[in-house]
Symmetry: C2
Subunit: 185 residues, 2 copies
Amino acid sequence: MAERKRADARRNERTLLDAAAEAFVTSGVHVPVREVAARAGVGVGTIYRHFPTRADLIVAVYRHQVEACAEAGPTLLATGLSPHAALARWIDMFVDFLVTKHGLAEALQGDATFASLHAYFLDRLVPVCGQLLAAAAEAGEIVSDMDPLTLMRGVGNLCVGADSPGYDARRMVALVVAGLRIDRV
Amino acid sequence: MAERKRADARRNERTLLDAAAEAFVTSGVHVPVREVAARAGVGVGTIYRHFPTRADLIVAVYRHQVEACAEAGPTLLATGLSPHAALARWIDMFVDFLVTKHGLAEALQGDATFASLHAYFLDRLVPVCGQLLAAAAEAGEIVSDMDPLTLMRGVGNLCVGADSPGYDARRMVALVVAGLRIDRV
DNA sequence: AACCATACGGAACCGTGTTCCGTTTACCAA
DNA sequence: TTGGTAAACGGAACACGGTTCCGTATGGTT
């Protein structure tokens, strides 16, 4: 039995996702709920009926891209690149994703209000990261005791404020990736 | 001409600093202003008269420790340690400082409300970090093009959520420090 | 003792996430 | 076509945290 929703409800959900995506691009992920509602031409109540919390709205908007990122892990491993190179590429993808979504890295942090966002990203991506780490460790290219959760959270943290002048998040991530190599002290 | 303040004002400033320090320890840096006021037995207006913004209160509470950290840089360089080791120790000190102050790393981030906090930390510590980096680069131990501002902000970012289970901020910082070494790929 | 600049307390204000509830509407059945 | 009803809606109201404002109290000085 498929969930039968009223036509207006389905329409509004669509409209809201579009409006939110647009608002996130122009004003960043921190755009007030009221503004998304206004942009979509609905009341705030409607947003909360469809998305119980701000975080759920954000998750819904970015779900596709998170899935794509998750699926890219195995794909990269299968390309014949060295596992360490595959890991580096995959992390690059993740960083690209975060730094191009203004405010997303910030929202990804512990903040209790974004708990479900945090949880979704980690649930989906940590296992993939774990595969890549394991493959690279197996190949003897990197240290064998790196925890994927720590790595994902660390990389996410490094992307906070990635757009502010004078801070180069990618450089920091590159240091981390270099630091994983086993031939270092 | 020394700034002549009324006795009650001086007394309250003291009381407020003590109350804030205590509150930060027990409830974290994010403790509401009203709670600090209540703990000090004063009204919120009094806090704002002494510290124009939350960030200024935080700066005042931690000023001593930031100064100590800043002064430790040259000291470490003078101890005869290799510059890279001195840099590593200094970063450890900074990390210790951040992770033991619940919520401080979070507050240190771009958040506009904490602008003065952010500015104070960076103004004071980036030059010190620059000295250590330069010495290590000069000695040929690390890459020569690392920007101290990026490094400080990155390390600060890595300390966000340092107390949450499953995340190991120190490990991430260690990767960064390892990644700086010049003998790596 | 009187005066007044300084300092105080805390109510009020603003912005933002979230909840609540009276009203509207899509859908189905008669 | 017309009701009837459960689903959905809009937006006022609430919670909460930072900050401002202003009438009141008081330390210090004359």
